[in-house]
Assembly symmetry: C2
Homo-oligomer: 146 residues x 2
Amino acid sequence: MITKKSKYAIKALIYLAKQEKMKPVLIEEISTEERIPKKFLEAILLDLRKAGILGSKKGKGGGYFLLKPADEINMAEVMRIFDGAIALVPCVAHRYYEPCEECIDEITCPIREVFRVIREQTVATLKDNTFAVLLEKEKKLRRYRK
Amino acid sequence: MITKKSKYAIKALIYLAKQEKMKPVLIEEISTEERIPKKFLEAILLDLRKAGILGSKKGKGGGYFLLKPADEINMAEVMRIFDGAIALVPCVAHRYYEPCEECIDEITCPIREVFRVIREQTVATLKDNTFAVLLEKEKKLRRYRK
DNA sequence: TGTATAATCTATTATTATAGTAGGGTAATA
DNA sequence: TATTACCCTACTATAATAATAGATTATACA
């Protein structure tokens, strides 16, 4: 399961992607609109800034804003920031590789291949979903609802 | 990430699938051969028995054995026993459905669809991998190694 | 230049899940 | 009928998650 941090981060980024470009948005506003605990959101936005996804401005008229266009940010990179590896076992992770500690022989491990395939499928799907795509999906869903 | 319980369960089942059919294997033997803490393994095998995957026999000559042929047991059902839902968010889980507690509106949630696709891909891959398939894979990997 | 504003940093805490361990009880079989 | 091996209950250590509290720093603007 994905963590709340990842989910909150995705929600906050969708909210920011809807804004006028580069216009800073208050933590307070995102917190209220998306119902995310303010202090918790603070830490999340800070991580997104450190990862180079968001920019920030202090003082009056300050806030957070996207540093890149919405079609250049995808769900895979966001989830990796907060949840680490996307793979279900560390031995097939791409950026967070580690041998499975209980593994006797990685080379002949038959389940490794299975989890490698799953990781590739999952990463591909997450990468396809940029925040531009997510905005489009939300628009469509809202139309169908009416 | 998958839990150790799931990994140990898969390893134990592979070990049992290699045995002469219906011949009970001691917990002690599986524990030693697969390097799984014995007491921990006991609980795992018990869960597999309660799930109808394994049978057991007490007393001398007893032990655990597969109740079904290896091609009728797959990784998805095993992982569900120990890790619960395979989905990355509860709102797209098949057998363990729950609304996401922080979700404002499930109908217009754009990430739900993404995680639904990922769940379907993952489950399909896990289901393809029956324990008969895993045994075949292991054989192949051993051949290539030499 | 001062002050309100808003992000940033440092610490602490509650809760839950994981990964075991300990020790005895119970049932089947030679 | 003693042995063998499964079965059950309870406990514990560690780590991760999901927060909260309070002090600090940077910035705009009057």
